[in-house]
Amino acid sequence: MTATAMKKEMDTMAWQKVCTKVDLVEFSGVAAWLETADGPAQVAIFYLPGQGNELFALDHHDPFSNANVIARGIVGDLKGAAVVASPIYKQHFRLEDGQCLEDEDVKLRTWKIEFKGDEVWVEG
């Protein structure tokens, strides 16, 4: 890997500010655009204040319906794991790692996400 290519990857993989705290909805999700190495991605961001891990970022794309709707699903927990239910056909995805509970072959992508002050940063 050349130094230039390495530099470029570092840039696109870099942490990005996507929104601020007031854009989030408590115990629910919003969608945002994120620049990634594979191009722009739609990301669903969930905010669970008071929980150990407050923020989660995973694919907004629902592989079962092929619509971009995951951020509009209901957040809950099943057998101890925080999940979101797709609003279309109701499959559950674990917020922590994107794993679908109904189909072990299906997993949503996840990204690192955290607050920097009131700003929400995601690692693209």
Partner: protein, 838 residues
């Protein structure tokens, strides 16, 4: 798999209850691989429930009495030829001859049933002298009743009293004329008959016993005069003969099959007639010198016939004629040797209460150990227990009298489900034993519904419903199955229990509810089952906007964005068009909005207009324009009142008798915004032609000359169900009050996502119980139900108007929080001049 051989031709003559049951047996047991089945029915209707025929005059129609869906025969691969009477069986040519053709057969099953016996009285063929057997007979009675003020039923037996009930239902002054010295001479003795007479006379029905009609002639004040043996006379406009039934054995007589002395086609244990290619079942068949005039033995014969046709083992070995009836609202029960005249040495126990008009009699073996028969008038509550003692030959308690004494004189030893032997028949229509039920549970059935699905128990006459439930509950309990009705893993409560908790404790948020009453072993997020259910309960109770911050994470996406998500992630928008009435100006606005935002437009089944393909970020603007033009949200996205469909009613229609549109608008505006366990639909028709299809709705209202008839718990959709008549001739105020109570009771007690139809089917006590609660206030909660509904009505506000006036709430309607561009992956294409998802 179809057999490679040519199928044998099986012809079933008769499409009554027993003939239909045979078809079901053939279909369910794979017999169609072997037989090509053709069914001839002489009547124009497909098989219907003759047991409940008199309900035809209290609101049920041919379709709701039908025993199967209209397409059952076609989809099962059985040819049903209704309105085609068989006129001859040509045994030498092996052909069945109808008025329309000749049909070859290999096997025949005669299921022609019986016909009403009309006594040979001069004048019995006068116009207005009718019988009571078929739907067409009922139509004829109804037509004749239009020019009549009074009517007489000749015959005071079971069917005669049914017919008398029908005449009362037509508002005729009704009399029953019986040849014997008491009513129902077959089932009850003199004491019982006397009590029955008192009870029936108290209903305004005149009872004349020991009357032999000599002739019928022109009357002075009515159409007819009946002259009796002592020259006493009775004038009447309408006469219904119901003096017993006779087997319809003419076809069998004509082709020289063996016939009993007093009629009936002689059959053996396999239901074979004297020609083994021809079988006979039901009321036409004579087995061991007996005709069985009840539906349960007919079904048992159908099972024996199935075995004969498919080389099985089941035989018909006679049937118990015990029966439990409600005639003119009076309980009558008869078990085994009720008169005690078939068992020499039998002893009788009798209990007669002239004040509450209850009579119970037991016929007991000479050693006092076994019940041989029983008779009940006025109260059938002891029937199930007595029947089990009788049918299963269970040893009687030391003091047998305790079984028929009133409860207050000591704890009556009821026979619990645990005491029944495995062989005890629970459902006699479908011949289901306690052992069958246990086996079903062992195979994995976990509730009453599961057991019913597998065994069909209690889906015939329904008389065993309560017993079945107690057996199922007992067996589940015995297996340590605690029937878990928890709504989900977060709450150990049913929806109904959560509702009560919320109301009683005044809990107003999900977090408070799960904090106080959630299961301890989970952390407190809830899930997509309990959150929307609690959101609905909170809305039903307090009616706060569902988009308030505390409530928004609870909602399904449709409620969150107050629109219906479609498969590509766009939404559809449906403004309220109350009663389906809309001004031209508003129609134009809908068109303009649809055009501006490129929305696909379609008229819905609920008489409004659905605009599809709206992008999330456009929803507030679309609603801004709609609200500006006077529209409000239609709750098409919510588990709530959807629409009140109406016909145009008396304002325009020449048949209308009330203003159905006006009523529909009143009702829609009253109940709009009511959140409920599932969606609710209404229909209001302006006359009995029922153009609004109100009987397929949760709440159906049909105008009458005197007001409104209310029907409840109908459904279209996946499992259509006709609504049932609940109350008649209500004025506007009574109608609102009744619906207030009904809906709130539903909201309180239904499970999540349970439509009124399923709720009603699962309600212990059924429609009668519902009537007691809503119409007679048996629980004493009607004031409260009305108050709760008034709260919902008073706190209504348009959710969309609330949302677009609040910038915080509008923030939610962004496709992306960091970019205003729409989602590029939503791609549309054009079809028939409109957009649709590509």
């Amino acid at each position: 798999m179809m057999s490679s051989k040519n199928p044998e031709q099986l012809i079933i003559i008769g499409n009554g209850m027993v003939g239909h049951h045979l078809v079901e047996q053939l279909v369910d047991n794979g017999a169609l691989e072997r037989y090509q089945v053709t069914v001839f029915g002489e009547e124009r209707h497909r098989a219907y429930d003759r047991v409940h025929l008199s309900e035809y005059f209290s609101g049920r129609d041919a379709d709701s009495l039908a025993l199967c869906e209209a397409d059952y025969y076609a989809t099962s691969g059985v040819e049903l030829r209704t309105g085609e009477a068989v006129i001859e069986i040509d045994r030498s040519a092996h052909e069945v001859v109808t008025d329309q053709g000749r049909y070859p057969y290999d096997r025949i099953v005669l299921a022609t049933g019986s016909f009403p016996f009309v006594p040979p009285i001069p004048g019995n063929d006068r116009e207005g002298c009718l019988v009571y057997r078929t739907l067409d007979d009922l139509d004829a009675i109804q037509a004749a009743a239009e020019n009549a003020t009074n009517g007489v039923v000749v015959g005071g037996g079971l069917l005669g009293l049914e017919a008398a009930n029908a005449l009362r239902g037509l508002n005729l002054d009704t009399a029953v004329v019986e040849f014997a010295s008491r009513l129902m001479p077959m089932q009850v003795d003199n004491e019982g008959g006397e009590l029955l007479r008192e009870k029936i006379e108290a209903l305004g029905v005149q009872v004349l016993t020991e009357r032999a009609t000599q002739r019928i002639e022109d009357g002075d004040n009515s159409h007819h005069r009946m002259v009796f043996q002592d020259d006493k006379v009775l004038e009447t406009d309408l006469i219904v003969f119901s003096a017993g039934i006779r087997p319809r054995d003419q076809l069998a007589r004509d082709c020289d099959l063996e016939i009993g002395e007093r009629g009936g086609v002689v059959v053996d244990d396999q239901c074979r007639t004297s020609d083994p290619a021809i079988l006979a079942i039901g009321e036409v068949a004579l087995w061991n010198q007996s005709i069985f005039g009840l539906v349960a033995p007919g079904y048992q014969m159908a099972k024996a016939a199935l075995a004969t046709l498919t080389d099985g083992d089941t035989r018909f070995g006679g049937a118990d004629m015990s029966t439990k009836l409600k005639l003119l609202g009076v309980d009558v029960g008869s078990i085994g040797d009720a008169h005690g005249n078939q068992n020499p040495g039998a002893r009788m126990f009798r209990y007669l209460d002239p004040l509450t008009q209850v009579y119970r009699k037991m016929v007991v073996s000479s050693d006092g150990k076994k019940l041989l028969g029983a008779m009940l008038v006025g109260d059938n509550s002891a029937y199930d227990t007595l029947l089990q003692y009788y049918a299963n030959r269970i040893e009687l308690p030391d003091e047998p009298a305790s079984l028929i004494l009133p409860q207050s004189s000591g704890a009556a030893p009821t026979l619990g489900p645990g005491a029944l032997p495995e062989t005890a028949t629970i459902c006699s229509c479908h011949n289901v034993t306690k052992g069958d039920i246990c086996a079903t549970i062992d195979d994995g059935a976990v509730d009453l519904g599961g057991v019913k699905d597998v065994t069909k128990a209690s889906t015939g006459c329904g008389g065993c419903t309560a017993l079945l439930k107690s057996v199922v509950d007992h067996e589940l309990e015995a297996r340590g199955v605690e029937v878990d009705k928890s709504i989900c893993e977060h709450f150990a409560f049913t929806r109904q229990e959560l509702y009560d908790i919320v109301r009683v404790e005044g809990i107003k948020t999900f977090s408070e509810l799960i904090g106080k009453h959630g299961k301890q072993d989970t952390h407190c997020l809830g899930c997509d089952i309990c959150k929307p259910a609690v959101a609905s309960i909170l809305a039903s109770c307090f009616n706060e906007p569902i988009t308030d911050a505390a409530h928004v994470p609870l909602q399904d996406t449709n409620d969150t964005f107050m629109a219906n998500m479609q498969k590509n992630g766009t939404y559809s928008v449906v403004p309220r068009v109350a009663g389906g009435e809309i001004t031209p100006d508003k129609l134009i606005v809908l068109g303009e909005v649809a055009k501006k935002y490129d929305l696909y437009s379609k008229v819905t089944g609920g008489q409004r207009i659905d605009l599809f393909g709206a992008r999330l970020e456009d929803l507030p603007d679309i609603w801004g324009e709609l609200i500006e033009a006077g529209f409000e949200t239609g709750h098409a996205y919510g588990k709530s009142l959807r629409t009140v469909k109406s016909c145009v009613g008396s304002t325009w229609c020449r048949y209308g008798v009330q203003d159905s549109v006006g009523m529909a608008i009143q009702l829609e505006n009253r109940y709009k915004g009511l959140r409920s366990p599932h969606k609710i639909k209404f229909g209001v028709s302006g006359c009995t032609r029922e153009c609004a299809e109100a009987q397929s709705k949760d709440i159906g209202i049909i105008a009458t000359e005197n007001g409104w008839n209310l029907y409840v718990c109908g459904n279209g959709g996946m499992r259509p169900r006709h609504a049932e008549l609940f109350a008649t001739d209500l004025d506007d105020e009574q109608l609102y009050r009744t619906i207030d109570r009904f809906l709130m009771f539903y909201v309180r007690t239904a499970d999540r996502l349970q439509r009124t139809s399923v709720w009603r089917e699962n309600l212990d006590g059924g429609l009668d119980y519902l009537k007691e609660v809503i119409l007679e206030d048996s629980l004493g909660i009607n004031d409260e139900l009305e108050r709760q509904m008034q709260t919902v009505v008073d706190t209504y506000q348009c959710e969309w108007a609330d949302a677009i006036s609040d910038p915080e709430k509008l923030k939610r309607f962004r496709s992306f929080v960091n970019d205003d561009r729409p989602d590029p992956s939503i791609i549309m294409t054009s079809e028939r001049g409109q957009l649709r998802p590509a």
